[in-house]
Amino acid sequence: MSKINTIDGVLDKYSAKVYKNRKKHMLEIVEDETKEIAANSRTIPGMLTHRGCCYAGCKGVVLGPLKDALIITHGPIGCGYYSWGTRRSKGESFEGGKNFLEYCFSTDLQDTDIVFGGEKKLKQAIKEAVEIFHPETILICSTCPVGLIGDDLPAVALEAKALYGIEVLSFACEGYKGVSQSAGHHIANNSIIKNLIGTSDYKPKQHSVNILGEYNIGGDGFEIGRILKSIGYEIISIMTGDGSIDEIRRAHTADLNLVQCHRSINYIAEMMNIQYGTSWMKVNFIGVESTISTLRDVAKFFNDPALTARTEEVIADELENISPEIAGYKEKLTGKKAALYVGGSRAHHYQMLLNDFGVETVLAAFEFAHRDDYEGRVVIPNIVSDADLKNIEVLTVEKIEDKFKIVKSQEEIEAFRREVKSFEEYEGMMKDMNKGAIVVDDLNHYETEEFIKKLKPDVFFTGIKDKFIIQKGGVLSRQLHSYDYSGPYAGFRGAVNFGRDLTMGLYTPAWSFTVAPWKKESILEGTFGGEQ
């Protein structure tokens, strides 16, 4: 059956209105042609979407990993509670530094606060937080009702900042803003660039980078950091896994920004380029081959023979260490088929890691990516913003003369752009996919079930909400948000962990017990009624 029929077969059940909408959100990869996909538009009610909200994108994803910031969720208890410790952004306490990652702070709004306003309670909560914990930074995140009742959070933040002499920032990340987590990324980015980056000075000691859009899930950032440091890079800041406010303040002093998750952090990458002259490069530390080519591209940027030599040395060493294990897993995994449905970035990156093991991707889907993540940044000028997105502030920034850093001349930059295609460019997921594979945006429960029936993947990489749904149907599902509490999956050692976890999942003996023996063969001897 052709794949076009596969998509039609899935869409058939829909009413005309839903059909028309959903058809635009799915396509089959064809050769020599990049098709347009609809993305970043409103979620259809009642479809069993996987999407979360703006608060999750802002507090849960971007701000949450900042270990030394005390984050107060301003709202009823749920939002703070659910985003407490559930994304596995690891963070190491540093000497004398405070670590708030194990905590959940909330104003726990009650009905009287909804009626009379929550500002008073928020001010009191800040006061208590300052007196008990003496944080250097407090971040306040709004939830749904806060926007409706009209609490003036920027004013509260300003007042607190003056009163206590610490950094206090507020984030208007009410859950209903935008159409998904994505709006929250943007809101967090805007504040980080406006209020934090460039606010303290520092002189890097060696070739320096920031790692952008890396949240250190299961220690990914630790592994990436280990590799980069062993080559000889200085990491100025990580946004935001294992990150700290002080590091972000001096991020502008780095020579190059490495962008892992394009969706969540491309705003900062773009704006830092304009304000501070910091070039950025789309990198991918997921997958052995990807990590190697990323390391080589980064080395090319610095164009330092010692660094280049050291890069090759580290690659050779690392490969020597992992190759036997990778080969072992590859033998067991080659020829398997995978489907991926992850937030806004991993559904692409992990295809590269699967390639390392000979696993074919038959379907890839994002929850909340934009067209540029599917089709490449080249389409950005053609993206039409709709009414649901218009209230997300788009910052216009300008060059900051005294902090502008020139690492490479304009000519060198242009030459480099021609040499390395990921330099200040992201070509999107679809370009890396094989002909015949299917791409879906905002994949819902029904479509998941249907595509599994039609494409028969051996493993479906996704999140916690559908993991057990898929496994109940007899198909392995591994989580690519939480890594099923394993990891790291990034870098060289991560690839080994990933291969181990996937192999273990596919070959665990439990699958063989799915059907009871009495369902397979009759144990009853005799005849049915009336039969002779």
């Binding site: 009413s15 009191q124 007899g474 799915t514």
Partner: protein, 454 residues
């Protein structure tokens, strides 16, 4: 671990730190999953629904389905009516639910969406149902949401034919399917004809068959909920989670109800069995007597290992109150008893237990949080901590043996299949308590004191 928590306790009026409760809708979602062929529906922005499904899934390691109205900013201005109408059409069309159980969030509550009139404007297909409950997140906790949704089902569906059916309505409280299964076993052993609402057995503990069923075999049948108007009596297990539903049946159909403590431990299970016996007018069968005797036998056998130990218990009020009573029956000291759910009745009930069992210097507190509990422990330690997974941070920080009991348990498997209620549940609890305490003795004692037989 939890390094910035100071020992010095200062009063907090506004800052909640490490809560021991969550918000209403997740309780409503759980209650709705306990109705057969039901799609729980979250009327708000989609983040809530995702978080709630996620939390239930992490606790049960099983699917928790639910749909959402997926509010955008526009819906906040114009109301969520069209979102709910679109959702209902899609849910009936695509997922073929028999009933949609709508709950609300702080968003739709603050906007003031009038759910009954929106539902009235929806063309619900023949033989299908839509019910609702208002579950504002800024009132109470997830337990309140559970109570509200149970009430919603009764309000919309229960009807009286005027002919009593002799059944007992059992509202089991916010407990695991393992607990509901155990309660049902005892009800059957006691020959009680009953309807349990909600009943998540067979839903969030569904077996592996190789075929996914969106609506698994379990859940209370709609026809049984309808027939609740003809019930003879309601048994509300745990006042916080179950009184509201029982009260609704009394209000609508004059069905009397009895509220019992969650049957955890000897006394509360005895009360539960006595109540069933009164209802069915049947003798207690030997099977139950045997279980009770076995439990007491184990208690006597193992008492040297738990007697006089100090315990801190936290979690949802009905479960915590019942656990407190059980540890008192064991002769342990429930030094700190805490719930995040607001309600003075909690302190009243727990204090009454302190008095009944004659323990002194113990603290009970409602609407508290895990940071406060941790501070109490820092000031005066305990031998054992009991509660949901979030307690593991305190257990590690203060090196306290920890028994996971309650909601949510996110970091262990199997627990939701196993009961805490009934004599059997008490045996299991005692095994967990003894295991934690005795493992600690094995770990900490001098090598010369290491015992083969304990």
């Amino acid at each position: 671990m939890l390094d910035v928590t100071p020992k010095l306790i200062t009063e907090r009026k506004a800052l909640k730190a490490n809560p021991s409760k969550t918000c209403q809708p997740v309780g409503a979602m759980y209650a709705a999953l306990g109705v057969h062929n039901c799609m729980p529906h979250s009327h708000g922005s989609q983040g809530c629904c995702s978080y709630h499904r996620t939390f239930l899934t992490r606790h049960f390691k099983d699917p928790a389905i639910a749909s959402t109205s997926a509010f955008s900013e526009g819906a906040c201005v114009f109301g969520g009516g069209s979102n709910l109408r679109t959702a209902a059409k899609n849910i009936f069309d695509i997922y073929d639910a028999e009933i949609i159980a709508v709950h609300t969030t702080c968003l739709s509550e603050t906007i003031g969406d009038d759910i009954p009139s929106i539902i009235n404007s929806i063309a619900i297909p023949e033989g299908k149902y839509m019910v609702h409950a208002n579950t504002p997140s800024y009132v109470g906790s997830h337990i309140t949401g559970f109570a509200n949704m149970v009430t919603g089902f009764i309000k919309y569906l229960a009807e009286s034919t005027g002919k009593p059916n002799g059944k007992m309505c059992v509202i089991p409280g916010f407990v695991n399917p393992g607990d509901m299964r155990e309660m049902k076993r005892l009800l059957k052993l006691m020959s009680v004809d009953f309807t349990m609402l909600p009943d998540t057995t067979g839903v969030v503990d569904a077996p592996m068959t190789g075929k996914y069923e969106m609506f698994p075999k379990g859940g209370t049948l709609i026809e049984d909920i309808k027939a609740l108007g003809d019930a003879q009596k309601t048994l509300a297990i745990g006042s916080f989670a179950s009184d509201a539903g029982a009260n609704q049946l009394e209000k609508s159909f004059k069905i009397p109800y009895k509220t019992l403590m969650m049957p955890i431990g000897v006394g509360s299970t005895d009360d539960f069995i006595m109540e069933l016996s009164k209802f069915s007018k049947e003798q207690v069968p030997y099977e139950i007597e045997e279980e009770r005797g076995q439990l007491v036998d184990i208690m006597v056998d193992s008492h040297p290992y738990y007697d006089g130990k100090k315990v801190a218990i936290f979690g949802d009020p009905d479960v915590v109150i019942a656990l407190t009573k059980f540890v008192l029956e064991l002769g342990m000291v429930p030094k700190y008893v805490m719930t995040g759910t607001p309600g003075k009745a909690f302190e009243t009930e727990v204090n009454a237990l302190f008095e009944e069992f004659g323990v002194e210097g113990c603290i009970s507190k409602q609407a508290s949080d895990l940071m406060e509990l941790h501070q109490w422990i820092k000031n005066d330690g305990v031998d054992l901590l009991m509660g949901g997974t979030h307690g593991k941070y305190i257990a590690r920080a203060e090196d306290i043996p920890f028994v996971r009991a309650g909601f949510p348990i996110l970091d262990r498997y199997v627990h939701s299949y196993m009961p805490l209620v009934g004599y059997r549940g008490a045996m299991r609890l005692l095994e967990l308590i003894l295991g934690a305490l005795m493992d600690r003795q094995d770990r900490d004692c001098a090598e010369t004191d290491f015992e083969l037989v304990m």
